[in-house]
Amino acid sequence: MSPSESKLLELLDVSHSFPGVRAIDAVSFDVRRGEVHGLVGENGAGKSTLINIISGVIRPDAGNILLEGQANQLTDPVTARKLGVVTVHQEAEFFPSLSVAENMALTQGLPIKQLGMVDWKSVDHDATRAVAEIDEQIDVRMPAARLSIAHRHMTQVAIAVLQQAKVVILDEPTSALSAAESHWLFQQIERLKAAGTGILYISHRQEEIFSLADRVTVLRDGRRIWTKAKEAIDRDGLISAMVGRQREADDGQPSFRPKPGELPESKAAPRLHVRGLGDARGRVREVDLQASAGEIVGIYGLVGSGRSEFAQTLFGLARKSSGTVEIDGRKCDIRRPRDAVRAGLAYLPEDRLRQGLCRGLSLRANAVLSSLARWSTGPVASARKEKNATAELLERLSVRHRSIGQPIGQLSGGNQQKVVLGRCLLTEPKVLLLDEPTRGVDVGAKAEIHRLLRRLVNRGQAVVMISSELPEVMENSDRVVVFRDGTVAGQFDPRQATPDEIATAALPNETSSIAQSASQSQARANGATARRRSNWLRTVREITGIFLIPSPCPLPRGARVQRTVISRTILSGELGLLVIVIGLMIWLGLTTDGFFEPGSLMKLAANASLGVILGLAAATVIIAGGIDISVGSLLALAAVCAGMVLKSPFSTALTIPLAILVACGVGCAGGLLNGALSLAGRVHPIVVTLGTMSIYRGIVVALRGQHDINDLPQAFTWLAVHPPSGFRGSILFAALVAGAAYFWLAHMRSGRHLYALGSSPTAARLVGISRVKLTLIAFAVGGLMIGVAAIVELARSGSMQSRLGTGWELQAIAIAVIGGVRITGGQGSVLGVVLGAFLMQLVQTALVRWEIQGDQVDVVVGGMILVAILLNHSWRRDE
């Protein structure tokens, strides 16, 4: 095959800029069939931008990208994926409230069958096949939030293999994987190579690059420096190309560390002495650890071995269940981070982005955050002292920055890390706990941080450094402590032990795996009994399943304790609500005469209709991640407009359909306005709808003042209530809306995209879901429903007051929340909302019996919302 034919992916002079920064500058390289092409470069070199361009997230300003010789194909993430370019991002963005299977399907675009409905069978099937490749017992129907980071990455790779991708881009794939899982990854890479897939492998880990890559491209400052075949590269050349300068003499060499035989006798007691530490969740057990002045203790272990959990328990972030901690010989009772800081501990979090940085705050604010007491006299904080301290710190740590007041989000990763480290240092700690201090940090800053640590311990502090890079641990620690299964598995002298010894100690060994499988088989036995007893529950669920959206919380497959199964299903979402509703109905039936007569039941249903429709309107918007407190005013506006049409002097055969149309139109328009303003103005929907609530109400009052809307035509009011037959049309409207909503939200692609958007806007962007389009759709549909509700209410009451709708904002949201819709978005069901509306109506009926009327009912409404969200909150905590 000629060189050009074997090129799968080719970049030609691709450039891209962001405001003020030229991220990529005329980069050209290619990825061939069956090759692993390594891409290396420091942070800030442009790798992330390049990945985003290739995967279709960004369109480059200039240049061409050829896929199998053809240009302009990678227009968006979904198309790129369909064409066979699969990207496994480092930050595995996903949709936590959706099932694993749906997550997987969304990356390709949900498959649809006839009528535009989602093909759930195929979704489940593909997911199960992919998961089988990983050889694990993953339940594809469980919410993806329960999947570990490692598994998330692995499922994405598995999909790429199954779908016979053409080009696979792996961004720091092993950063979250254990050694065994990395081994599995490398096997998959071999499979992909054999199948002719081109692999772009981005990693900071040079050993991996050297062992896997056929060719390597180096990026620096947005430019391609060179591309060479593996044989032609030497380590130093690689690093100097990345860094742009000659590798410093002591890079990679342990610096300032005493040579063997030169160790000073450690006379003083250790600064940190931990005995038998265990955490309440059982992820850390019986840990003994010491750290003395002048020494760096390196903690090495696989992901899941409890290293971070140990540090966090020590620091007071997680609850301790056993053990003692002594600092400088004094016993410390550390219950929260404040106690730890006071005792002389400092902790550098593992996840800089989520746990370390206050992105919008200045360098100064970030730096002094943990040590504020030092820069204040009494209660008064001194800006001057803070600024001085920060300036000095930034100088000392060589942080490249523009000004102290600049937002920390503008710095590069390495510099950000230095500031967060500086925050720890400013507390003048006796012992430093550092969790992955050089993760995501470029080579230059990495070396600086290592040197800094050595300087710190030479001056008397003790440092405990957690790292998953064995070379880093071995080259920089005085003692290596290996963690395995939540406890210490061994200690090594890095100067004398071999990497193999240490790595082996970190692997789960035979005894522990035998014990593990024993407990697994016991659990499986329990599960079998549980399954027999819970079969009837399963049948019930399958029947009600017809009405349920593919809920991400099904009966757990296999080994779960029986109690959990039952409590989960009884209390979970819809079934629980159903039980409560039925219970309340039975109670009311027993205590009220004639409750179960068809007429009175119909009346009940009719009264609940408005709640159903408005609850669904609120739910639609909330599920998509928004909120709408203008519901009541919009309802009134739609009603007033419809009312005006009805009162016009034309025949009812014309005005009634027109009125319905007008109401729906006004509702839709109002909803669209809310959505558009919040998108275009980038203002939180709550502020926008606060404003529009006022605006709509004002218009209503103005219109109402000028038009009399009373005594609406009988033909119209019959829509809601038909006295001769007793039939209540409101029920029909509600059923129609509920049915359409269910069909859309559960089975149509755009409806599922709504859930995805609410679940994770960032992940939605990556899979090509248009936030703008979907937000507008959500608000528009919500508004449409409000229009229908306006007709129902208008028909029911036969006239209209300006007050119409006030208070419904609260009720609509209450019904949605009680029905299981999560206020943060991404979760909720139509059945739940319907049940919520019924519950609300039943409660109000019950309250009337107790002679609690009018606005006093709000006590109960408020109480119900509280109970609902408290319950919701506590289940989620258990997960």
């Binding site: 800030g44 070199a45 790798k47 931008t49 947005g222 972030l317 929260r336 981070p337 404040r338 730890a340 989520r354 940085l357 206050c358 919008g360 705050l361 604010a365 955050l369 943990s370 504020l372 204040s376 209660p379 008064v380 904080a381 937002p407 989000g409 503008q410 990763g413 303003l677 103005g681 980038r682 203002v683 939180h684 709550i686 502020v687 926008v688 606060l690 404003g691 529009t692 006022s694 605006i695 109400r697 004002g698 009052v701 103005a702 609260l810 209450a814 206020i823 943060t824 609690i852 606005d855 006093q856 709000d858 006590v859 409404v861 408020g862 109480g863 919302i865 509280l866 969200i869 909150h873």
Partner: protein, 317 residues
């Protein structure tokens, strides 16, 4: 219209002041007797005091929709107790206690982990319903004349506003507590990891909100009595002041003086419109609603657009 970032920021900073001038002009060009403004402004002083505490809460990324209901509840408690024979001072103290308890309950809910929006939405309903229940939805008036409703010639609400403003200004901008608030609004998880006392900070803010509400309730009741449903909607006005002033609803950015600015703008616009309504038919009640709504959205949008440049981080490359 492509404006450079710094020019936009400049105009952004200037705009509220421009609006302020317009608003003040609206009022002062029409007012016959400036002294009458003192009484007209009392409800807005109430809104302002609540808005100031609301600012601190919004800075931490939270919100308190229940302030109006707490005012109602405290007012009713005071009224009911007085009607049952308690002395005015002791009834007043109980009203304050009610405010603190109600605010503290909000704080507890937030500390437990509930989203403030829904939690305070629920307590808003709960407290206002409770107020109606204990009073049987009746008005309780006829409180004895009290020297406390006017201090040094000004209605006490103004003093409460001033006191709240000074206290909040000091606490938020000059103490550790204030720094903690900003951190919590920007990244609650990182704040926790940085040893910021998360729970205490949240709880205190919501309790303070309840306290101020209780205080306002006492003064109102002493002057006008305990009246059902009269305080409805204050929370929305308070939030509007905060937003118009420039504090971002998402937290982490903004400040106390800004809210004062927002308060003065909205109050004057509303008062100015009400003056105009007596002469120009168009500006009656409903148009006011529309104008305030449009103003709120327009300014909120503007604030977001100008704040965008400040916080704009270089895309991670």
């Amino acid at each position: 219209m492509k404006l450079s970032g710094s020019k936009r920021k400049w105009i952004g900073r200037l705009l509220p002041w421009l609006l302020l001038c317009v608003a003040l002009l609206m009022v002062f060009s029409q007012v016959q007797n400036p002294r009458s403004l003192i009484n007209v402004g009392v409800p807005w002083a109430r809104v302002g005091a609540l808005a100031i505490v609301m600012t601190a809460i919004i800075l931490t990324g939270g919100i308190d929709l229940s302030v109006a209901s707490i005012v109602s509840l405290s007012s009713m408690v005071m009224g009911v107790l007085w009607r049952n024979g308690w002395s005015v001072p002791s009834a007043a103290i109980m009203a304050l206690v009610t405010g603190i308890i109600a605010g503290g309950f909000n704080g507890t809910l937030v500390v437990v982990g509930l989203p403030p929006l829904v939690a305070t939405l629920a307590t808003m309903a709960f407290y206002s319903g409770l107020a109606l229940m204990i009073s049987g939805a009746e008005r309780i008036t006829g409180f004895p004349e009290s020297g406390l409703v006017r201090i040094a010639g000004l209605p006490t609400e103004y003093w409460i506003l001033a006191g709240t403003f000074v206290t909040a200004l000091f606490v938020i901008h000059f103490t550790r507590f204030g720094r903690w608030c900003y951190a919590l609004g920007d990244n609650p998880l990182a704040a926790r990891f940085a040893a910021v006392p998360v729970h205490r900070t949240h709880w205190f803010l919501y309790a303070a909100s309840g306290l101020v509400a209780g205080l306002l309730a006492v003064i109102y009741t002493m002057r006008d009595g305990a009246i059902p449903n009269v305080h409805r909607g204050i929370e929305l006005n308070a939030i509007a002041c905060v937003v118009v002033g420039g504090t971002l609803i998402t937290g982490g950015r903004g400040g106390i003086p800004l809210t004062m600015l927002g308060l003065v703008i909205i109050a004057n616009v509303d008062i100015g419109l009400s003056f105009m309504s007596s002469r120009v038919e168009f500006f009656k009640g409903e148009a006011r609603l529309v104008v305030v709504g449009v103003l709120l959205i327009a300014i909120a949008v503007w604030n977001e657009w100008t704040a965008r440049d400040d916080a704009k981080e270089v895309e991670r490359i």
